[in-house]
Symmetry: C2
Subunit: 255 residues, 2 copies
């Protein structure tokens, strides 16, 4: 049974792309077949995997417009890791896509035919709660809320939770809240400890034990178009994402 999971928060720069890429990297090393979906027209996930997003012939937009099939658009990044890429052409088409009657199910309908061979489909969301994030939630069995332990990111949680409820009741009854993953953490500061306390109090069951520390090798890996496991497997970043991915897998098999 293919697990479809969105990594989401509308606040910018919380580590969504870094988390989706590195979780996919670890899962694929463990032998799981993973399809990554870049739902951000800025194409950061596509770039993080080493592709020049603006040079691609086909992207997820061609799938939405039924100009290409899934097989024609998917990039075979590695044996166990495939990518549904994106670029800014999709941003330009957003207001047209908004007008379509099937606008909430563009992604779900595009994936319907061809994802049974994957163990996981991991979706990277853009920093908004618009059409593309709604599509991601409408397609997913669950979502992971990615947050850095800071005040402004924390403000994003309540509106996101409300969007989750709306999508669950109107578009996708199966959608579950998988959990909250904290990244870019430096718990030496009082500020991040205070945020951690607030999250523990409000979401005791949902907070992942694993968290990701601030680690420059995660930034560098993106510059080299690699996952952290390819770029620097002995780094703190690789250790932390292994920890998270192990908990993510365990959680899944528990469900």
């Amino acid at each position: 049974m293919t697990k479809i999971v969105s990594f989401i928060i509308q606040k910018g720069g919380c580590g969504k792309t870094t988390t989706t890429v590195n979780t996919a990297g670890y899962l694929s090393l463990q032998g799981f077949k993973v399809l990554c979906v870049d739902m951000d027209p800025q194409g950061n996930m596509t770039q993080h995997f080493g592709y020049d997003s603006e040079m691609l012939d086909a992207t997820i937009l061609d799938l939405f417009n039924k100009k290409r099939t899934l097989d024609e658009v998917i990039l075979h990044r590695d044996q166990n890791l495939h990518l549904l890429p994106n670029n800014l052409r999709t941003a330009g088409a957003e207001s047209e896509l908004q007008k379509r009657p099937d606008r909430d199910y563009l992604l779900r309908d595009s994936l319907l035919t061809g994802i049974s061979s994957y163990d996981y489909v991991l979706i990277d969301c853009p920093p908004t709660l618009g059409l593309f994030s709604v599509n991601a939630l409408a397609t997913s069995g669950e979502f992971v809320l990615v947050v850095s332990p800071e005040f402004l990111p924390m403000k994003a949680i309540k509106p996101l939770y409300e969007t989750f409820r709306t999508v669950k009741y109107q578009l996708n009854h199966t959608l579950q809240f998988n959990g909250i993953m904290m990244t870019m953490c430096d718990f030496r500061t009082r500020h991040s400890q205070e945020v951690l306390e607030i999250l523990k109090r409000n979401f005791p069951q949902k907070l992942y034990h694993a968290f990701i520390r601030n680690n420059v090798s995660l930034k560098e890996a993106a510059a080299y178009g690699q996952t952290i496991f390819e770029y620097s497997p002995q780094s703190l970043g690789a250790f932390d994402y292994q920890n998270f991915a192990e908990e993510f897998i365990r959680d899944h098999h528990k469900n």
Copy 2:
């Protein structure tokens, strides 16, 4: 002559809101009359100034829909610092606003009548290049590109530059590229030094000398609804933003 400046980059989490708020804070302390405009429906600037964005009666959306006048919407945060607030209601209205013939000038037309008493209008942009960022650029005399010295944020510069050219030729001939300001800097890492070198090489005339170091007091100030000058005037963050604001003022009077 009122100076209208946008702080922009579509990449999420680069410090746009923190920069707009603290630059406005410094300018207002120097006696300049400043109007801050929150063009991000997530309302982070509104929250950073201490308001509960979701509880507001009137926001910038009411201005776009001509339901309220500028005076009715503007919040008088301090004697020299006023705010045009925003919240998620505006996100819900985006696809309607897109359809309007005056959609690119919603902000410009809303400000036309009432900004002559301000020395500066500073606009905080959302993490996209859609309707709201285009409106910000169509209204501004200049824009400051806010970036953190990392690979993924750097990938955003070229598409932003292209959007600037398009807006300049189609919507606003007066629009100028003020400069690039680097924030969230930790120049002990090779990665950030490499990015700095690339920016110096590609934009020698545009890079501000002043930059903002990573400093937790900037995160804390947001949690207290204050500018860094109110929250911790002796902090590194206050020193760095003073430096930047001084250079920003000098540049302006030079133009």
